[in-house]
């Protein structure tokens, strides 16, 4: 009798335990189980925001150095990486016939100087002659009045004097012509000299040579470059920032630059200029960021990740960005009320790079909100708050 009771009770208990286990299993796992979530309490605090962009290291002032007229390269004096002074001879083009033309021009110029001197001498000769003739004419005229000379003789002297005057004028005109000739030939000489100088390719500014595009012997068309150089003072990171996030970027803001060559190592810089022209195709804004101190080794064209600190607030209410969801076209966060979910619409402000979103309206400090959940939430769903969902593997 006793044994039977024990057996019956034992069986009943076993059955009950199994049934309870089954029901628990059904309720705790699968679609009927409460959704596991993590929560956070809202606090007011400092909020720093930054925008992120990808840039390439470029020199804002880059120079392509090449001849102005077609020609052949005679010599290239510098190599890639050479640091050059302003005005330093970098390369020379073959002058071809320019030297001969310069010599001819110089000779012509010298000849013109002589011609000018000769013209001057002729003027002086003509002046002397004209003076003598004038004096003679005047003496004959006064003696003629006293009838020492016949009228014809007086007339002849006056004609002589007139002729001498005309000769002087001609000589003066010749002098002017010689002077003009000299000016022209001088100008021609200067032009040829300039042209000759132009085959010498000199550095426009101090900088560094970045490319050597052509070697001696190469023939270039006008506009092709022999060397390219940049002004190191103008090295920038040309940073592209998504239009949607570029709003707060201003010149002068601090930036941290991570070069692709040295990941994890940030270099300080600041925004030097926000370009007016954006990129309509990629929908990006272009921001120039300068290094506070130019790093030793970098490469032009190197990619850099740029983070620009845009705004900071001391007493800002912010929620983790993962908590903000869109529900029927409204933004909001999920809260837990009596173990079930409830959607609270909020008005959000900017989102920071560390994943926090400013809440402008709809929540107060101290409110507890759901951050992570193991599946998409619906209103009125039962939830179980856990410390972390990170260990999930499926």
């Amino acid at each position: 009798m006793n044994r039977r009771v024990v057996r019956a009770v034992g069986l009943a208990v076993l059955g009950l335990v199994l049934l309870t286990g089954f029901v628990l299993l059904m309720v705790r796992s699968g679609p009927l189980a409460p959704v596991r979530v993590t929560t956070a309490v809202l606090e007011r605090g400092a909020f720093e925001n930054a925008v992120f962009g990808i840039g390439t290291v470029e020199a804002e002032r880059a120079y392509a150095i090449g001849p102005t007229s077609p020609g052949r390269i005679l010599a290239v004096h510098v190599d890639v990486g050479s640091e050059v002074r302003a005005g330093q001879l970098l390369a020379e083009m073959d002058p071809v016939e320019l030297d001969a033309r310069l010599a001819a021009s110089r000779a012509a110029s010298a000849r013109a100087v002589h011609a000018l001197a000769s013209a001057g001498a002729q003027v002086r000769d003509a002046e002397v002659r004209q003076e003598l003739a004038a004096r003679n004419a005047r003496r004959y005229a006064s003696l003629g009045e006293r009838a020492f000379f016949s009228d014809a003789a007086v007339e002849a002297k006056r004609q002589e004097a007139d002729s001498a005057g005309a000769q002087l004028q001609a000589a003066r005109a010749q002098l002017d012509a010689a002077r003009m000739d000299l000016q022209r030939l001088d100008a021609e000489r200067v032009a040829v000299e300039r042209q000759r100088a132009n085959v010498r390719l000199a550095a426009p500014v101090a900088g560094v040579v970045t490319a050597r595009d052509a070697e001696p012997g190469t023939t270039l068309v006008a506009g092709q470059s022999v060397l390219r150089m940049v002004d190191l003072a103008s090295v920038r990171v040309r940073t592209r920032i998504d239009q949607g996030r570029s709003g707060g970027v201003r010149a002068g803001q601090a930036a941290s630059i991570v070069l692709r060559s040295r990941p994890g190592f940030a270099v300080a810089g600041k925004v030097s200029r926000v370009e007016l022209n954006g990129d309509a195709v990629t929908e990006e804004r272009i921001v120039q960021v300068v290094f506070d101190e130019l790093p030793k080794d970098f490469a032009f064209g190197e990619l850099a990740e740029v983070t620009i600190a845009t705004s900071r607030g001391a007493d800002v209410l912010a929620v983790p960005g993962a908590a903000v969801h869109e529900q029927d076209g409204r933004r909001g966060v999920w809260t837990v009320a009596d173990g079930a979910t409830a959607f609270v619409p909020v008005r959000t402000g900017e989102a920071s790079l560390d994943g926090r979103t400013v809440v402008l309206e709809g929540l107060q400090a101290g409110d507890r909100i759901i951050v992570h959940s193991e599946r998409e939430l619906r209103a009125g769903e039962r939830v179980a708050v856990v410390e972390s969902l990170e260990g999930m593997r499926r």
Binding site: F52, Q224, D242, P263, L353, D354, R393
Partner: protein
């Protein structure tokens, strides 16, 4: 009146439990099979849910972007935004690829999305969403990636900043969400060697590398490496507008294909997984028949073992109805035990399946009903035997 079947089950509970375990495992397999099917459908629908779109705009004449490749210019969305009834349009790309993680390759579907727009992961289990417009990803936990881990996709390294779950492609590959521009690059850019080779080829082409035209070559090279395509544009319909009509407008005027949620679901569920679904359905039918046969056989042997008792019961005036009810109840009881065990094991082993197994409560109820019906049918043979037992056999022969 006492329950004869209940007494019998209690008396022979070990026999019932062991038989029930066998049957239960079979039912567990059946339920898991149904769960696998549900999981496949759910995998397909996850894509739709995670997209959070009303209309998918894809290349004309394609069933893209999931069932067929599709390519749309990435500025097409601007034209779409201007159409009446379109509240939002966002570019997305999808690319199935392998990502190396240490020694192993993880097969993933890389989803390129614009942070803050449609197509972003709807919830996270850890970390935060993608905030930078480059080099950050949110990964499904099934990829095995951890928060803070750096992974390499094609030419770039990305940091895993957030984890989500149940975000898989229709073939069950976990998703990795990355910023659209990175995804475009990953999808349409080649690897470094290919780029260098391509560049050398262009440079060697005298028609393209013309000495008299400075800058032409650079422009050509740049145009070769920029990508301007996406796989689909996700459109949200403004409230008060009919998605069907908006989709019709897009099809008519934009020379693009537009699918509504219902059409997309149809493509994903009926077209992509149709064969697998039929396969599973066939298997389910076979399992049901096997289960029925087993229950039938067990109940039949149990009844044969009770012929003497049945004769006595009949002799002392038990009605046929009572006897039939007893056998039916025994059969149903066996089915119930089997079902509870089956449901338990199915729930317990479901997480160990490599693909998602979704055990819906509705399916469990249907499974229970089916089990009961099958058990009831299976008991018919035994009932027939029991009713044919001659009460006279109780009296010595």
């Amino acid at each position: 009146m006492i329950s004869l079947a209940g007494r019998d089950i209690l008396h022979h509970w070990t026999k019932y439990v062991f038989t029930g375990v066998g049957l239960g495992l079979l039912i567990g397999v059946t339920l898991s099979m149904a769960g696998i099917y549900r999981g496949m459908v759910d995998d397909a629908q996850v894509l739709l849910r995670s997209s959070a779109a009303d209309i998918w705009v894809v290349q004309q004449e394609t069933l893209g972007p999931y069932a067929e490749p599709s390519s749309v210019r990435d500025d097409a969305y601007r034209a779409l935004l201007g159409m009446p009834g379109v509240a939002d349009a966002a570019n997305v790309t999808y690319l199935t690829m392998q990502i190396r993680q240490g020694e192993r390759d993880v097969r993933v579907m890389a989803v390129g999305f614009e942070p803050g727009r449609s197509g972003e992961p709807p919830f996270l289990v850890a970390g935060r969403g993608v905030e930078r417009s480059h080099y950050e990803v949110v990964a499904d936990v099934r990829t095995g990636f951890r928060l803070g881990e750096r992974i390499r996709i094609r030419r770039q390294e990305y940091e895993v900043v957030g984890l989500t779950r149940r975000m898989v492609s229709s073939s069950g590959d976990p998703m990795v969400f990355l910023p659209l521009k990175d995804a475009q690059e990953a999808q349409f850019l080649k690897d470094n060697d290919a780029i260098v080779n391509e560049r050398a080829r262009t440079v060697a082409n005298p028609g393209l590398n013309r000495p008299g035209v400075p800058g032409l070559l650079d422009a050509l090279l740049a145009s070769q490496t920029s990508s301007r395509s996406v796989n689909a544009v996700l459109v949200k319909v403004a409230s008060g507008h009919d998605a069907e009509r908006v989709a019709g407008n897009i099809r008519r005027w934009k020379h693009l294909e537009a699918y509504t949620w219902r059409q997309m679901e149809d493509i994903l569920v009926s077209k992509l997984i149709e064969t697998s679904a039929r396969q599973i359905a066939t298997f389910l039918v076979i399992l049901a028949i096997v289960s029925a046969a087993i229950v039938s056989f067990i109940i039949y042997t149990m009844t044969l073992g009770k012929v003497r008792e049945l004769a006595v019961l009949k002799l002392i005036g038990t009605r046929n109805r009572t006897i039939a009810a007893m056998i039916l109840q025994q059969s149903l009881g066996l089915g119930l035990i089997g079902f509870v065990i089956g449901k338990t094991v199915a729930t317990l082993w479901a997480p160990y399946f490599p693909k998602y197994v979704l055990l819906l409560p509705g399916d469990a109820v249907r499974g229970l009903a089916a089990t009961m019906v099958v058990c009831a049918i299976a008991s018919l043979v035994a009932i027939r035997v029991a009713l044919k037992v001659d009460p006279a056999t109780a009296i010595g022969g």
